[in-house]
Amino acid sequence: MAAAIETKQLTKTYKSKSRNLTVVDKLDLHVEEGEIFGFLGPNGAGKTTTIKMLLSIIEATSGEGYILGKELGDFDVHKLISYVPERPYYYEYMTGLEILKFYGSLFGISDVAHMQNLLERVGLADARNTNKTINQYSKGMQQRIGLAQALLNDPKLLFLDEPTAGLDPIAHREIRDLILSFRKEGRTVFISSHELSEVELICDRVAIINHGVIVAQGKLTDLLAGGRVEILVEKLDRGVFSDMKIGDGNIHDTPAGVLFDVPEGSDVNAIIDGARAKGGQVVSVVPRKKRLEDLFVEAVRNK
C-alpha cells in the first residue's frame, strides 16, 4: 500500500545563542493510505512540532518527508490535506456556516449546499439556519465545526490533534464514529492524542514518541501482543506453591490468595490442575490483554 506520510530522519532543532534544542530527532514515520494512525507521546514529546513539519508550517532542520507522495513544502499538498488543532479557536463572531464559508473561500469553495451537508454530517444540522455565533457553541460543537471545516476540501489526509480532548462521553463517541467513517471513505487519519483508550479503539497503527524520538511504532495488534493470564488460587500453602513449575510466570502471595501471573499461551490447565492437586481452590482465571496504556508507559519509561 502507498504511504500517505513517510519521513526519513526528520529532525527539528531550535537554535538559540545559548544552546541548540532538538525537539524532533531523526524521525522515521510510515503511515499507510487509508489507515487511522495514532501518534502518541507525553507532553513536550515533539508531537505538535512533528505535525507542524508535516503540514509545512515549520521547516525541518534536516531529513526528508513526503505527504501523499509529494515532498514536504510542496504547496499543492495543502489542497489534499486538512488539519484540526487541539482546542480549535475560530473567529468568534462568525456562525457555523460563516466559519465554513471563510475556510471554503481559502480553497475557492463557495457551495453553500455542500457546507450545509457537512454541518449535518458532523451533527450540527441545527446550526445551519441559526445566527448562533461560535462563542456560544459548546466545546463539542466547536470540535464538530473543526471537523466540518476539515472536510470542506474532501481531503485525502486529515491531521487531528487531540480530537476528543475535554468532550463528554456522548460527544466522544460521536466524534469517534465520525473518524471511523473517514476510514470507510478511504481517507487517511493521523491522530495525535493522549486518550489512549480512544486510540486503542480506532487506530490501526500507532507510533509513540518521547523526547523527540520514536520509541515504538507498528500495528496495534502486534504491539499489544503478549498478554498475560492471572490465576488466583485460595488455600494453597507457601511451602507447596513455591515448588510449582510455571515456566516464565510469576507467583505472588497476595491477601486474596496465591496469584499465578503467566504469559498468554502458557499451559493454564496444567497450572490449575497442579494447584488443585495440592489442595488449592481456583477462584478466578483472568486473561489480561496488554493495553495501549501499558505499552505507552513501558515505552516511555524505558526510554
Binding site: 531550535y14 507542524k52 503540514l55 508550517i57 515549520i58 504547496f75 499543492d76 495543502h78 489542497k79 490535506i81 486538512s82 488539519y83 484540526v84 488543532p85 487541539e86 482546542r87 480549535p88 479557536y89 475560530y90 473567529y91 468568534e92 463572531y93 462568525m94 471563510f102 475556510y103 473561500s105 481559502l106 480553497f107 475557492g108 473543526g146 471545516q149 476540501n153 491531521f159
Partner: protein, 261 residues
C-alpha cells in the same frame, strides 16, 4: 487573491468587534462631541481652535487604534492557533500577512470614517459651516495614509518583536516621525552641523517614515504653513506613503516567511 480577501474580511469582522478598539473609538467620538465647548476657552479664533482639536482628536485616536489593532494581530493568531488551520490550507504566508494588513487598514477606514462623519456633522450642525466640515475630509484622507503607514510599520515589527515592545517601538517611531522628523531633517541638511551628528540625523531621517508631512492641515500644529500646490503635495505624500508601506510589507513578508510559528 481570494485567500487575501477572505482573510482581510475576517480581520475586519474581528477588529470592529474588539472591545478595546470600540472603547477608544467611543472616547474619541465623545471628545469630538464636546470639542465645541473647548473652543470658548481659547482666545484664538474659535473655529481655528475647534479645527485643531478635532483634527488632533481624530489623529491621536486613529494612531492609538492603528497601533493597538496591528501589534497584537499576528501574535494573537499564533497564540489562538488560528494561523495553523489557515496555513494548513492553500494559503501562503505572504497572503496571510497581506490579508491581515488589508483587513486592519479596512477596519481603520471604517473607524476613521465614523469619526470623520461625526466631525463633519459637528461643523455643519453646531458651527453652521458645512463647507469647513467637508474640507476636513482632505485632512482625514491624509491621516488615513498616515495611519496605513503606521499600521504597516507595526505589522512589519510584529513579525519579529514581542507585542508589548512593538507597541512602544511603533509608538516611538510615530512620535519621532511626527514631531522629530523635521528637526532631524533640518539638522541633516545644516552644513555647519557636526559630521557625526549629521550622519546620525541622516540615518534617522532616512530610515524613519516622515509622518509629519500628513499633518500640514492642522492649524494648531502648523499655523503658518501654506502649500503652494495642494494637489501635488497630496500626490507626493500618498506616493511616499504607498512606497513606504510597500517596503514595510516586503520586510514583514520576508521576516514572517522565516518565522517559526
Amino acid at each position: 487573491m481570494r485567500p487575501v480577501i477572505a482573510i482581510a474580511k475576517a480581520t475586519v469582522g474581528e477588529a470592529i468587534r474588539r472591545r478595546v478598539l470600540l472603547i477608544i473609538l467611543f472616547i474619541a467620538i465623545l471628545l469630538l462631541a464636546v470639542a465645541p465647548l473647548l473652543g470658548v476657552l481659547s482666545a484664538r479664533q474659535e473655529q481655528t481652535v475647534l479645527t485643531g482639536f478635532v483634527l488632533g482628536i481624530v489623529q491621536l485616536s486613529s494612531a492609538v487604534i492603528a497601533i493597538t489593532l496591528t501589534v497584537y494581530m499576528l501574535p494573537n493568531e499564533v497564540e489562538r492557533r488560528t494561523i495553523y488551520t489557515i496555513l494548513s490550507k492553500p494559503v501562503q504566508r505572504w497572503q496571510f500577512l497581506i490579508g491581515k494588513y488589508l483587513g486592519a487598514v479596512a477596519a481603520l477606514a471604517i473607524m476613521m470614517g465614523l469619526m470623520a462623519v461625526v466631525s463633519v456633522l459637528e461643523f455643519g450642525l453646531f458651527q453652521q459651516d458645512w463647507a469647513k466640515g467637508i474640507s476636513l475630509l482632505q485632512a482625514y484622507g491624509m491621516f488615513f495614509i498616515q495611519m496605513s503607514l503606521l499600521a504597516s510599520v507595526a505589522i512589519c515589527l510584529s513579525t519579529f518583536v514581542a507585542p508589548l515592545v512593538n507597541f512602544f517601538l511603533t509608538g516611538g517611531i510615530y512620535l519621532i516621525g511626527t514631531l522629530g522628523y523635521a528637526f532631524f531633517d533640518s539638522f541633516n541638511k545644516n552644513p555647519n552641523a557636526p559630521v557625526l551628528g549629521k550622519g546620525m540625523a541622516f540615518i534617522v531621517s532616512s530610515i524613519l517614515p516622515n509622518f509629519a508631512s500628513y499633518n500640514v492641515q492642522n492649524p494648531l500644529i502648523n499655523p503658518e504653513t501654506t502649500i503652494q500646490n495642494p494637489t501635488m503635495y497630496a500626490v507626493n505624500a500618498v506616493l511616499y506613503g504607498l512606497f513606504y508601506i510597500m517596503i514595510m510589507l516586503i520586510i514583514g513578508m520576508l521576516m514572517f516567511d522565516r518565522k517559526e510559528v
